[in-house]
Structures are given as structure tokens and as C-alpha cells.
């Protein structure tokens, strides 16, 4: 930002003066920052930076004004000078002629006394004046250095002017023609004129100075007229220039803005968006190139999307096609398994293995199908407004026998009041079953806590175990498909390797989140966060917030704003709709 006060400080200011100046400039700066003027200036700067149209318009107008001012000034100066010189030339030659005539008439006169000369001079000068050729006044003056002749007094015909001593001296000294610009009428009246002087010698009385006064008013009027015309032309030109600049910027910027808008629409997923182009100029070329780019993008996208659809369809078809033979295998294995008592030891064990592995195979197939449904975007959330605690209760009850068998102890910690949320109970229960199975498998016969928390916007369910735990790196991979934390570790419960991946997808389908963290040997926490209202995306979790303490590198924004700082639930719900 410009600092207008800083450069005002003079370098040689004394110390107290400098201090005073510093306070003054600081005050000025404050005023500038706070003041309406500063604000307007900043707004203007922002607009300037943002709008190419404004810049072009402003630059064109300013350059136009400057150019027109220069041209007008030059033109009117030239016209004025030329007219003035012409008029002066005219006046000089006219004055010379008249002076000659006056001298001739004096020479021809037979007056022998000053009184007679006076009469003659009067007569001659008056006649010269009236013979009319531009001179508005004639002055006859006795040189102050000559002896005054008593009766022959100076006189004036027509307009009189104050003759400057310089002019009179020059005329007197050289005896030749001299001229000077004067003001006609009283001082400040602004009527321009020139006075041309020379010396005449009437008989008997000795040399006199003769001055002719010429008016420049007609020339002045012409100049004013020309200036006015120029100014008017300049105004019209300026208007035209601004209009042209506007038109041109619109012509050029219109398509650019359209391109920008179209690009935005494309970016937001409207792949069918195109620019309309007409003509064959550069802007039409821009539009066409843009559309070609969009076409190629769309083609690529659709090809990739098509590939992925084909692949997903294939996975889904395979999973389904496998189901019919699997049903037969399943029933056959059940029949064999039920009859295993009649077999010898080897066949019996084989029947048992077949039975368990068919179960496993079926679970794997079901999970594969579920994942392919998520990948295809075909998973549908079937929400009900339910108390999450009942779903937790059900999942815990189902997991309890397994937990007992492995020696892990399940403890549920939940609020007294109902934690109702828009959830798909089937999916949430599946997530919890997965989390509990995972916790039981890794709990090493230590306790497992299930912690339910709720605030105005979200409900969270954390499954905390104190078993083998995991590293930060592992916690990033734990949701990967078919990922195993420790390949050497024996699988006691089994599981398909897709459970947590499906759980994460289920959480996201709700607009919620599933996070995992922990440390080796201490335990692991899996936290499922669900929004209370369907369609609202969770930005924070109601807790527990141990994650912050245990993994300091997790940025705070992951945890979101505190519930107190977010707007009321219903309001946000309406906004998101």
C-alpha cells in the first residue's frame, strides 16, 4: 500500500521536530487507512486490479485527453501567431503609407506659423484617420525633448492609448517605424491592439511623433471561435474514443469472460458446456480452440469413466455369476458336513475344511460385491432417524460372545440421553461389527471401550482397544483393501481384508468419517463420526479428542471448529439443501 506521509518528512528536520513529524505522519497514515478517502482509493485500486475494462477505458480516456489538449494548444497557438503576425504586417505597412501621406501633405502645405500648422495638422490627421483603413485612432505627439511650441498641442483622433516611454523614445531616437502591443480601453478590458509610431516633420514647428492605433479584436474573435470549435471537436472525439474503447473491450473481453465462465462450468463437472462462436476472427478462434479442448477433455473423461464402468460392471457380474455355483457348493458342503459323523477321520476333516472355507469364500464374495457397489456409486443410503445407542447396543451384543471367547472385555460408555441421527442402521451396524471384530482380534485379551459422544451436529462412536496398536504409517494404510498390518500375525477371526475398507465407504456414504490412530503396544482407536442430519457433511467430531494428544502432527482443521462456534443445526441443514 502507498504510504503518502513518508516522503513528506524533510531530511534536515531537528530531533524534536522529527518526532513531531513522525507523530503527524503516523496520524496521517491512520487517517488515511481509516478514512473514507483511503477506503475509496483502496476500492478503486481493487477495481483497477480486477477490471481490464476499467483500465483500458481509463488509459484510453487519459491518453485521449492529453493528446487532444496538446493538439488543441498547438493549433490555437499557431493560428493566433499567424493571425497576429499578418495583422501586424498589415498595420505596419498601412501605418507607413499613412505616415508618408501625412508627410507629403505637410510638405505641400504653405502654412508658415505654428497656428496655421496646427490647423493644417489637425486637418491632415483627421482626414487620414477618416480615410479608414483599420486604424481606430491616430495620435500626434510632440517629442518631449523638443522645445514645446506654444499653440501646437498634441492631439488625438479616435481611440486613445497610453504610449509607453520606451516606444516613444525608440521612435524619437531612430526616427523610423516602431510598434508595440497595447490594450485598448481601460486596463484589464482585454481588448487587444497595436500602436505603430514614426516621426513626421510638419513645417515650421519641427519633428512630431505620429502614432496609429489598430484593433486586433476581429482577430481575437476569430481565435476564440477557432478555440471553441477545437474544444467542441475535442469533446466529441473524447466521447467517441471512450465509446470505442468500451466497445472494443466488450468485443474482446466478452468472449474472454464467456471463456472464463465456461471454463468454470467445465471445472465444476458440466462437461457438456461449450462456448458459442461466430465469425472467423481471433476471438472465434479462441472459442473454437476452447471448445476443442473441452471436447477432448470430455472424450478423455468419458473414455476413462466408460472403462471404469466396464470394469465395475465386470466385477459385479463376476460376483453375481459366482453366486449360483456357490449356492450349489454351499448346499453340497452343508450336506457333507452334516453327514461327517459317518466318514473316516481324513474325509471328516476334509468336510470340515470345505465347510469353513466355503463360508469364507462366501464372505469374501459378499464383500467384493459390496465394494464394487461403492465403486460404481450404486450404494444407496437408506436413512432412518434413530438413536445411535440402540445400534451400538445391538452390535456390541452380537460381538460379545466372540469377545468373551478371546478374553477381551467390552465396555460401552455413552450419554444418558438419546443420540438420534439420520443413519442407515444396516450400514452403521456393519461398520461397528467390523470395528469390534478388528478390535477383538488385536486387543490381546485386554479391555475394549466403545465410547459414544454427541453434540448438536454430529455423533461419534469410538472403538478403543489396548492391544498391539499401530504406527502412524499403519493407521494410514489400515483402510486399504486387503491390507494386513502384520502378515506374520495369525488370523484368529478371519475376515476378508475388505471389512475396514467397506466401513470407511459406509461412513463416507453417510457424509461422515472414519479415522484410525494409535501407537504400537499401547492400542488403537477407530472413530466413526456421523452427521446428525443426512446430507450434512461432518467437519468435526464430538470426541473423544485423544487424537490431538497422541498424534500432534495432525492439523487442527481435521478436528474442525468447536460445536459452540458453528451455527445451529437446523439452519445449516437448510443452507446445505
Amino acid at each position: 500500500m502507498i504510504d503518502p506521509g513518508a516522503s513528506a518528512a524533510p531530511a534536515e528536520a531537528s530531533a524534536p521536530g522529527r518526532r513531531r513529524l513522525a507523530t503527524l505522519t503516523a496520524g496521517l497514515r491512520r487517517w488515511w487507512r481509516r478514512g473514507a478517502l483511503g477506503q475509496r482509493w483502496r476500492r478503486l485500486r481493487t477495481a483497477w486490479g480486477r477490471s481490464l475494462r476499467l483500465r483500458v477505458l481509463a488509459v484510453t480516456t487519459i491518453v485521449g485527453i492529453l493528446a487532444l489538449l496538446l493538439i488543441s494548444a498547438y493549433l490555437s497557438e499557431r493560428v493566433r501567431d499567424t493571425l497576429y503576425e499578418q495583422r501586424v504586417d498589415e498595420a505596419l505597412s498601412d501605418a507607413a503609407t499613412r505616415t508618408g501621406l501625412v508627410q507629403q501633405q505637410f510638405d505641400a502645405s504653405t502654412a508658415s506659423t505654428p497656428a496655421l500648422v496646427q490647423t493644417v495638422a489637425n486637418d491632415i490627421v483627421r482626414r487620414t484617420q477618416s480615410s479608414g483603413s483599420g486604424a481606430v485612432g491616430t495620435l500626434l505627439r510632440r517629442s518631449p525633448t523638443e522645445t514645446p511650441v506654444t499653440s501646437l498641442i498634441t492631439f488625438t483622433v479616435g481611440t486613445s492609448v497610453d504610449l509607453s516611454p520606451d516606444l516613444r523614445e525608440a521612435v524619437r531616437e531612430t526616427g523610423t517605424q516602431h510598434w508595440q502591443a497595447v490594450e485598448l480601453g481601460p486596463t484589464g478590458s482585454g481588448r487587444p491592439g497595436i500602436v505603430v509610431g514614426s516621426v513626421v516633420a510638419p513645417p515650421v514647428v519641427g519633428p512630431y511623433e505620429l502614432y496609429f492605433v489598430y484593433s486586433l479584436e476581429p482577430e481575437e474573435a476569430t481565435v476564440v471561435l477557432i478555440q471553441q470549435t477545437l474544444a467542441l471537436a475535442a469533446l466529441v472525439l473524447l466521447g467517441l474514443l471512450a465509446a470505442m474503447a468500451l466497445y472494443l473491450t466488450r468485443q474482446v473481453l466478452g468472449p474472454v469472460q464467456l471463456a472464463a465462465r465456461t471454463a468454470e462450468r467445465l471445472a465444476s463437472g458440466h462437461l457438456d458446456e461449450r462456448m458459442t462462436t461466430k465469425g472467423r476472427d481471433e476471438l472465434a478462434l479462441l472459442g473454437r480452440s476452447f471448445n476443442e479442448m473441452a471436447d477432448s477433455l470430455q472424450e478423455q473423461f468419458e473414455r476413462l469413466a466408460g472403462l471404469s464402468v466396464v470394469q465395475q460392471q465386470f466385477v459385479s457380474d463376476v460376483s453375481h455369476e459366482l453366486r449360483t455355483p456357490l449356492t450349489t457348493i454351499r448346499m453340497a458342503s452343508e450336506m457333507i458336513y452334516d453327514a461327517r459323523g459317518d466318514f473316516d477321520a481324513v474325509t471328516r476333516r476334509s468336510a470340515e475344511l470345505l465347510h469353513t472355507q466355503v463360508d469364507r469364500f462366501e464372505a469374501l464374495l459378499a464383500d467384493l460385491l459390496e465394494i464394487s457397489r461403492f465403486d460404481a456409486g450404486a450404494a444407496i443410503l437408506d436413512v432412518e432417524h434413530l438413536d445411535v445407542r440402540t445400534v451400538v447396543r445391538r452390535a456390541v451384543d452380537l460381538a460379545a460372545p466372540l469377545a468373551e471367547r478371546t478374553g477381551a472385555h467390552l465396555v460401552v460408555e455413552q450419554p444418558e440421553e438419546a443420540c438420534r441421527a439420520d443413519i442407515d442402521p444396516r450400514r452403521v451396524e456393519r461398520v461397528l461389527r467390523n470395528l469390534l471384530a478388528n478390535a477383538i482380534e488385536h486387543a490381546e485379551a485386554r479391555g475394549i471401550e466403545v465410547v459414544v459422544r454427541a453434540d448438536s451436529r454430529a455423533v461419534s462412536i469410538s472403538v478403543v482397544d489396548h492391544g498391539v496398536g499401530m504406527t502412524a504409517r499403519q493407521s494410514e494404510q489400515v483402510f486399504d483393501r486387503f491390507w494386513r498390518g502384520d502378515p506374520s500375525r495369525a488370523r484368529t477371526i478371519g475376515g476378508t481384508g475388505l471389512g475396514l475398507a467397506i466401513a470407511l465407504e459406509d461412513a463416507r456414504l453417510h457424509g461422515g468419517d472414519l479415522e484410525a490412530w494409535g501407537s504400537p503396544g499401547v492400542g488403537a482407536t477407530f472413530r466413526l463420526t456421523l452427521p446428525r442430519r443426512a446430507g450434512v457433511k461432518v467437519t468435526h467430531s464430538p470426541g473423544p479428542l485423544e487424537r490431538e494428544e497422541e498424534v500432534p502432527e495432525v492439523p487442527n482443521q481435521l478436528l474442525g471448529p468447536s460445536p459452540a462456534s458453528v451455527p445451529d443445526l437446523d439452519v445449516t441443514h437448510q443452507e446445505t439443501r
Partner: protein, 227 residues
Amino acid sequence: MTSTILVVDDDPAISEMIGIVLASEGFEAAFCPDGEHAIEVFNEANPDLVLLDLMLPGKDGIEVCREIRRLADTPVVMLTARSDTVDVVRGLEAGADDYMVKPFKPQELVARVRARLRRQDHDASERLQIGDLTIDVAGHRVMRGSETIALTPLEFDLVVALARKPWQVFSREALLEQVWGYRHQADTRLVNVHVQRLRAKIERDAEHPEVVVTVRGVGYRAGTPTS
């Protein structure tokens, strides 16, 4: 008396396997490998229950189901590889009583077959009132005045279940257990579709049901007797 089960499936292995399971439980099985001849075989075998695959060559299972419904009230259980498609709902709307998703266990199959074959124990002299209808439980008849309304056994069980406890609101899960014989959670679409089918038959105005009333967020209850 042994019950005859018609198995309509294009996969011979699964048909044979189902036949083995059914035979081991004392049922008799008839088979049909495609949709075209399903009705023919149905008429010949006169089964007590039909296990019907949804995807069949020739004529699809939904069409077969519709045709069976036109002929008889025989319970129909669909077999499907996909539970998430609209086919399930279409099958139920075509008149199937229940469906099973492959792969299923033999015990599950047998339990489902038995549940559909089981006649509810009805007290001989029992007569129930629901809305403006009278139910003659022993005679297996539902009457509006003197007019008899034809219902499938399942629909009859459904309306009887509601009419027996007119003070109670049944959740969909409770109805699934009582009418379909499910012990664990199952697809509540079964209830929704069958209540709609039932309403289409017994309500004066299916848009404003008075016999089977919806209780929002809970389930269904019997309409107050009017006579």
C-alpha cells in the same frame, strides 16, 4: 401327505442340489429348467410351493410369477443373485410371497419353505372384524358384507395378524417375524410391498386406507371395526 415343491431354475446343478435337500427333508420336488414351460409343469405337478429363479431363459421369473398368480394362490419364493436391484421389488409386486438371495444354506431354504407351507393354526369358530371387513378364519375367507374377497394365504395371514390385535401397532420387523417367520432382521420391503398388494384388494380407496392403517415411523395397525 408330502408337499410337492416346483423348482424353476435354469442351472441343473442347483436344481438337483435343491432337490436333494428337499428330498432329505421329506418333500417331493418337480423341476423346470426354463420360463417357457414353467406354467405347463406347474399345471401338471400342481405344487404346494414354487421356488422360482428370477433370471430365466425364455421368459423371466417375474412374468412366470405373474402367470402363476393368475392361476392360483400357491406360495412363490423367488431365488435371486441380486438383492439390491429393482427386480426383487418387481417380483414381490408380481405376487411372490418371499425371496431368497443366493447363496443360501440348506437349513435356510428348508426353514423358508416350511414357513410358507405352514398353515397357521386357526380356531374353528374364530371370526374377526377389521375395518368394514369380516374375517372367517376357519373358512379362510374375508368378506365385505356378503362379497368374498380373494386373498393369497400370505395376505390372509397378514390381515389376520393385524385383526387379532387391533389395539397393537405392528412394526415391520414384528410382522416379518409373525407372518413370514423370520427370526433375524430381513428386508422390510417385503412388508411394504405386501401391504400395498393387500390394500389394493381390500381397501375401498387404496389412497386412503381404512383397513390397514399406516402409523408413521412405527408400522401398521388394524382399522377400527365399523360394523
